[in-house]
């Protein structure tokens, strides 16, 4: 299977009144065809910024500083804006966290779907409408005819997210970026959306997914590979089994311990310390202030990414020792 998306050394800054926020400080990971890669991290770790940087949706006061985003071999960061627009919606699609808010409130569903279809597939209005109805049925929505005239605020969270998914798969994108698509939904609706995504992958409506979430449980359900992100860098990357059964990075291990298992009645474990301030990030390894295994080198040098196995990468000084 070929490499679909290769992110190398991506760095993105935000220039705010408080100072320069180094949101992404060298992000690396790879997605292959037919893979679901989860990007897991706490709020503020840079997950959404990564997604938007890949799509080049970063506007002032943000700026992509350096790095490469190779999509099927083409560096997206070097494309002209017109060409990038051709990629968006067509080859790479994105769905957002709160679907009701992420839809234009003054336009009805029909208009919003049809414009996506017409822009990316070039259909005329009649054909686009038929396609829209078909897509809505495919995501499991009932009563699709009347749905076209509804407005976003009239939809429930789950329905809106399905509409969103329908819009994004219209052009059979090679990559779907899902930015916390279930975080604002109820748990039951959440699992419905996840099985919908799985179903769509089975029938080839979706090829590969970059699934962003802060919820390890959700990641475990859907993802083949997982990237653990912290403070603007990828701390660990591996298959689901590798991450869950043999976590190597202290942060990942801390996350695993923090998830309470059924039958566990003791005190809940939390990783000590606080999320780093990215205006003045810690020197060396960005995690070192909270790390139990920290060594002297950890606060002076940034760790390199080393290979633990064919698919397993860790960014930690501990690994370099071996």
């Amino acid at each position: 299977m070929g490499k679909l998306l290769e992110v190398k050394g991506l760095k993105t800054n935000f220039y705010t009144y408080r100072g320069v926020v180094k949101a992404l400080n060298g992000v690396d990971f790879t997605i292959h065809d037919k893979e679901v890669v989860g990007l897991v991290g706490e709020t503020g770790s840079g997950k959404s910024v990564t997604a938007k940087s890949i799509m080049r949706l970063i506007d002032a006061p943000g700026k992509i500083m350096e790095g490469e985003v190779l999509f099927n071999g083409v560096d997206l960061l070097k494309l002209r804006e017109d060409d990038m627009r051709g990629v968006r919606g067509n080859e790479i699609s994105m769905i957002f966290q709160d679907p009701v808010i992420a839809l234009n409130p003054v336009l009805n569903v029909g208009i919003q779907m049809i414009e996506a279809i017409r822009t990316n597939l070039g259909y005329d209005r009649k054909k686009a409408k038929i396609e829209a109805l078909d897509l809505l049925r495919r995501v499991g929505l009932p009563d699709v005819e009347s749905l076209l005239t509804r407005y976003p605020h009239e939809l429930s969270g789950g329905m809106a997210q399905r509409v969103f998914i329908a819009m994004s798969i219209a052009a059979r994108p090679k990559l779907l970026i899902a930015d916390e698509p279930t975080s604002s939904l109820d748990v039951t609706v959440q699992s419905q959306i996840l099985s919908l995504l799985r179903h769509l992958m089975e029938i080839d409506s979706i090829n590969a997914v970059l699934f962003i979430t802060h919820d390890l449980g959700v990641a475990a359900e859907l993802c083949d590979k997982i990237a653990v992100m912290y403070g603007g860098r990828i701390m660990e990357f591996g298959t689901k089994e590798e991450i869950f059964d043999e976590p190597l990075h202290p942060y990942t291990r801390g996350l695993m311990r923090a998830v309470p298992k059924p039958g566990f009645y003791g005190e809940l474990f939390t990783i000590p310390g606080e999320v780093p301030d990215l205006v003045t990030p810690p020197t060396g390894c960005v995690f070192h202030p909270r790390c139990q295994h920290r060594m002297d080198v950890c606060d002076s040098e940034e760790p390199r990414t080393t290979k633990a196995s064919e698919s397993h990468y860790v960014t930690c000084h501990l690994m370099e020792e071996r």
Binding site: L57, G86, S93, A102, N104, V106, T119, Y151, H153
Partner: protein
């Protein structure tokens, strides 16, 4: 709820509000002044004359009876008689309102045509030189007394430089012909009278500019704020993520939302223009309601005062109603 039901609801509300307007004008004209008739006739007036007028206008009857008389007269179209002109107030108003409406509406058009694009560009090119210029311009407009601006421009452009005509709606040498609507611009156009049309427009420029100056400022500011807010919304990102062309993103997604707030204040703005025209008309000797009202207020010509106040309040309410309906059309979230 659909638009039809919304309109009906708003109409009912407007009727209620207009009733309240009547109550307020009645209170101000009949209840507040201690001795309206005496004030008009002067302290030396013989008592029998005062009594006669009191009886005629019902000032000696209990308040609720006075109010009923007031309403009854109103419905018959009788707004009383004006002291200054000795005509029926209704006639006075009918004769003068086109001038005021022409001035206010031109000022509004001016403010919209200048203010909205300024606000949008200011938002899109945030913190640029143009943005700062627009913001300074807007805030000065809001801080300036309109009558002072009028005087200064009159001094500069008419008395000193003579580029624009000074007072009145028309040069005295030009005729408008038939009065169809009372609006000189429209009437001149309808009759194909080019000379009159140009002359009218030249006379309109300064007063409309002065009047619309502060409105331009407030519209530009609100448009700017609204556009900035919309640009931050997630659905703009969604639109871009769908790969839509820049034209579609800007017009269908950003502007369609950003312009909602400015539209809703058009009603408010028009009210401000109506009251501003009162001040502006005084300076440019514009024969509209403004001068009539000012004289009426100064001379305590109460029937005229009430007539004008009522008239303007009604126009204002109708303008707001139209704007509210437009708002419901533009923003479906409101219709619940």
């Amino acid at each position: 709820m659909n638009i039809g039901a919304y309109i009906v609801r708003r109409l009912a509300l407007m009727v209620l509000v207009l009733f309240g307007v009547l109550v307020i004008t009645f209170t101000v004209s009949h209840v507040i002044p201690a001795d309206p008739v005496g004030a008009i006739l002067g302290p030396q007036a013989p008592t029998h004359l005062i009594d006669k007028i009191n009886a005629e206008w019902g000032f000696d009857k209990p308040l609720y009876e006075q109010f009923l008389m007031y309403l009854r007269n109103l419905l018959r179209g009788n707004l009383g008689k004006s002291i200054q002109t000795n005509n029926a107030v209704l006639d006075d108003i009918m004769m003068r309102w086109p001038a005021t409406i022409e001035l206010s509406t031109t000022a509004l058009l001016f403010a919209l045509m200048l203010g909205i694009p300024a606000g949008i560009i200011s938002a899109i090119k945030r913190n640029s030189v143009l943005d700062h210029f627009v913001r300074v311009f807007s805030i000065s407009g809001l801080s300036m007394p309109v009558f002072w601006l009028g005087l200064m421009l009159l001094f500069l452009l008419y008395f000193q430089m003579g580029v624009l005509p000074g007072v009145g709606r028309l040069d005295t040498s030009i005729e408008i012909g038939r009065r169809i609507t009372g609006l000189y611009t429209v009437d001149a156009l309808l009759q194909g009278n080019r000379e009159a049309f140009i002359n009218t427009v030249r006379h309109l420029i300064m007063p409309a500019f002065v009047l619309g100056f502060s409105a331009t400022g407030s519209i530009a500011r609100i448009t700017r704020a609204s556009t900035l807010e919309v640009m931050q919304q997630e659905y703009v990102n969604t639109a871009k993520a769908k790969g839509l062309s820049e034209r579609l993103v800007v017009f269908r997604h950003i502007l369609r939302n950003a312009l909602i707030t400015p539209v809703t204040i058009i009603g408010l703005t028009y009210g401000g223009l109506l009251e501003g025209s009162i001040l502006t008309e005084t300076i440019f000797a514009w024969p509209g309601l403004g001068r009539y009202a000012t004289n009426a207020f100064m001379m305590l010509d109460f029937q005229a005062v009430m007539g004008v106040t009522l008239f303007i309040a009604v126009i204002y309410s109708v303008a707001n109603l139209l704007v509210d309906i437009l708002y419901a059309y533009l923003d479906p979230r409101v219709r619940i």
